[in-house]
Symmetry: D2
């Protein structure tokens, strides 16, 4: 055990936290030291011989790294303490994803609890692997941003999108994305046999995060039209993306562009032409899958899928952790 | 409208209450005057032009009959007021199902709120239609009791069961049976892909109600072994019943016994030999369906199904209401 | 019984046919005389005392009207015989939906079996009620076209769409839309927990039908980008529509436009602002529901839902039948 | 790679075969050499770089062991060839589970294709680990038998059951147990929202297999009453077992009996008192879980669960393979 990295998970009983625990419990270079839970303190932690402890009882001096699967506003203070204690930290909450306190205040309707921490590297290795390597603190992206941004990345990076033309994202998420706390909209009877949009247009909080990263790569991109839907499955997320290309690019060439871009990416799979990405391609894996449909010369349809709790949350957090620790990037993830 | 019976529904936003409202809104002899809801007061009442009102604002002087789809302990006081006001009442809660205050105290761990109301006719028309006709106050049975008792009735009434031999009921219910209030065990993610027993053996509250009615018909019947399970569907309930017959009866003759017993029952269907009762036979209908499997000479297996919100709750309540009001028994139910 | 219209259903055991039978069995002005099925001949017809008969045994001289819920190419010959026999006919297949044999040949890769029948009134009462009244033969629209066209109608009719700008439709259908014949893609295990696009872009056969009707109303409309998905529910269909308005129209005004347009339509409900249309609004009803989201001044998002077997198939077919027969349009449908 | 055991899978595209491939692809001591499929020959084999080959193209001389996930009657001939070729073989079909050709003929209504192979060790390690070690050919049990027999084993082995008293098993299986070939009863729309018994009483083929093993351990056991049901989930199986104990045993003592019996079993978990075994305990794992409810002194209720494709099929087959090969029993299974 002496060679293993000692790790703690805050918020280990929520759905993202459970998957973080499951991945870390099987990770060959990790020793899981604690997992916290306010609701389930005292209960056994699955896949381990631990029991959940209250957040306040977690001792940062016993670990080298922590994962924060906490609600927003609750997460930043722990991140600040981890940084002060010299403990590496992957934050899965929204607290550190937006680069400025102003942007956070706009989308989360609350003053940022620790503005001195911003900005923090955005934990999407396919976008900014070099920033993540060796970082002490990482903001792991949300599930919708990860899935959507991976679906757009080759176009954004290479300037294929028609300037000012809207990027339309019709997204669908399994119910675990709504969290473990029982609410009327996650009651089995309400979800079963149903399919429903929520926060459509430009009001979902992830719009701010997605557009922030879009504009870094392509400042001329059009506005994001984003409609998330609740899908009656437990896990899995699809972003169905509709874009318009510049005149000098042809949708039929996008397949090669994507294959080239992601050729060496171990956790992003571009499907062959005519195959369609589905949830089954990714559920319970740490991968994204992408398929492309040239609709006409100028119009391209992209389907991007992840497991919202894996590549959309905890799997990606561990991918960042591996990079931060100098481990092979996919350790524990294949 | 002048000929219609004016009716109110207390607790009209819960799952049983919603179905009561839906049936009554289409009932040709009913005018729905109000539906109450503590949680959803002000919201539109589906299938009507009404809005939910708080319980306290319901005016008993405006109706001739009420349905009480309230939690236990909350229901009996309203039943008492309805009786005092001369308003006919079908109570769907557990408050009036057990014949004595002592039995209620045993199973519900609480003193009975209105012992002076007991006993009340048990609203299972196939058992005691004559008591229901003309009654002012009826205790509508629970979903497990209705389904189980209809599956046993011909055997109990005709003394076919081996005295002292246990009656084994392996029961499965859709999630609406657990109520509309969000709880951890009804969260979509917890139920999806799962199947789980709860309160097995002899501890579920419906055991008291089922045995009370069993022993009225067959005092020598053995004890009830009852295991309910949560089924990952929204509605539908199955009681899988295993019994031992007296030596002088043969399981192969049970088919004729059941067909004869239920021959004139409009809302109980005995399936032909070899066909199996399934949820699809009854979901969104007000009927029960029963199938029989002679396992060996002495052992009989019975499958009994209902929609837990219809024949297992609101459909049966309206069936009782029709009898109480002198209307044709199946009005609004076919 | 003497006043009732005698009706037959061809293909009464498929999913659309089953719903047609169910609606007609409860229709106060209809006597169902026969229902045909090649696979289930001899089995009881649900909701009736009939048994399915082979197609060849159906006698057109015994009925005044027929519904054809047959596969394409099998349907047109029966329609031709019905016309010859003076029997009114609602065809639910694709055979008569496209106005010309050339268009049929393009989308169905087969010569039209009865070109002399074309064109036939398209059975979408909200579009062309007057053509349907008194017609002898009607082509009932498909589920995707109905849902999509109702979602676009007020914009098309009033010329609000930016000429040449694409109409993006991300559509989702319950599995019954794929028919009752067992196929690998409708196996429970393949669908469960999955969500998958199929025939994306401009290749699904309904594209031809939708664009035909779009261009009748707005010849300047842009091309249709249409991605259907298989949704893991049994019934229900959503078209999520993204459009760009002309400069002189504002998305915020669309709510009033839709409410005005559909004000007197008994089977189309425009939801209030901020409410979102979901499958639960329409499943097992004969209605469509529509909600609107102004994304920005020029971009409008529309959610349109139907039950694919009701307003998307058999409910609408009966709506047409009522018009053809001079009955109140919603008879048997509320 | 030189140290790895070369393995082939026949029938690798069915549901049991897929799971065998998945487990073996991650097994540290296995090199998967081929996977056969009649239907999907040419398609990629998930989790590997192989493509499915037709059964006839599989070369037994290239492997040291094979798994047969073939239909009954198709499997025994391959087992015979494997034996002749000196290749170790785990047969997942029913062909070799019954000890005599007569018993096979009774339950499968067909002469046994290779009676000279019988009897073969029954691949349930918790029952007969010693027979499996070093064997060349093993009959892996079915899903219902595994789950039921593990639930009964401590009682049978220690003679706790009342002689002649029936063993009642109300069983529920996910749909993958019905195989991958599309059939009407596995169509998504037929299963969704439904729950249905099939082959109830004593007619399901697994009755013969279960009773064979019961009587080996307890010749005085009563007859098996066995009702399987189709559960609307993709995987997971529960046997709900109801038994009567001899007078000198008390149901309250069963907990200790089970804990002692399974104390050293790595793949059977006895839950603590009051906890109930559910599908979530075992789905996608290679374990069984068991919970006990003392109903009264003499009556005991047992809930036993497995993943029907894992401990109920391929996981257990690999467990047997590990024993046959002298590997640690749980290699690749935790």
């Amino acid at each position: 055990m002496t060679d293993k990295i000692k790790v703690g998970v805050y918020g280990g009983s929520g759905y993202a936290g459970q998957d973080a625990v499951e991945i870390l419990a099987h990770h060959p270079n990790v020793e899981l030291v604690f997992a916290t839970s306010s609701t389930y303190a005292g209960d056994p932690v699955p896949f381990t011989s631990l029991r959940y402890i209250p957040h306040a009882e977690a001792d940062l001096s016993t670990v080298q790294a922590v994962f924060l699967a906490l609600p927003h506003l609750a997460s930043a203070p722990v991140a600040a303490r981890a940084r002060a204690a010299g403990v590496k930290c992957v934050d899965l909450s929204a607290d550190l994803r937006l680069d400025t306190p102003e942007r956070f205040a706009k989308w989360y309707a609350h003053e940022h609890p620790h503005p001195e921490l911003l900005p923090v590297p955005y934990g999407l290795p396919e976008f900014n692997r070099d920033q993540i390597k060796g970082a002490d603190l990482i903001a792991a992206p949300g599930c919708y941003p990860t899935t959507t941004l991976l679906g757009l990345y080759p176009l954004l990076k290479n300037g294929w999108l028609l300037p000012g033309s809207p990027i339309i994202v019709d997204a669908k998420s399994g119910v675990s994305g709504a969290g473990r706390e029982p609410k009327p909209n996650t009651h089995f009877v309400e979800v079963y046999g149903n399919f429903s949009p929520y926060n459509p247009g430009r009001v979902h909080r992830h719009v701010g995060e997605i557009e922030q990263e879009i504009f870094k790569l392509d400042p001329q991109a059009g506005l994001l039209i984003f409609t998330p839907h609740l899908l009656p499955v437990d896990r899995g997320l699809m972003s169905s993306i509709y874009v318009t290309l510049k005149d000098n690019y042809r949708s039929a060439d996008a397949q090669a562009l994507y294959q080239d871009t992601y050729h060496d990416e171990p956790l992003v799979k571009v499907l062959p032409p005519k195959q369609q990405a589905t949830l089954k391609h990714v559920v319970k894996t740490n991968r994204a899958a992408i398929s492309l449909t040239p609709v006409s010369d100028r119009y391209l349809h992209i389907t991007s899928v992840t497991d919202n709790l894996r590549k959309g949350a905890s799997g990606q957090a561990v991918q960042c952790f591996n990079l931060m620790m100098g481990l092979p990037e996919t350790t524990g993830l294949l």
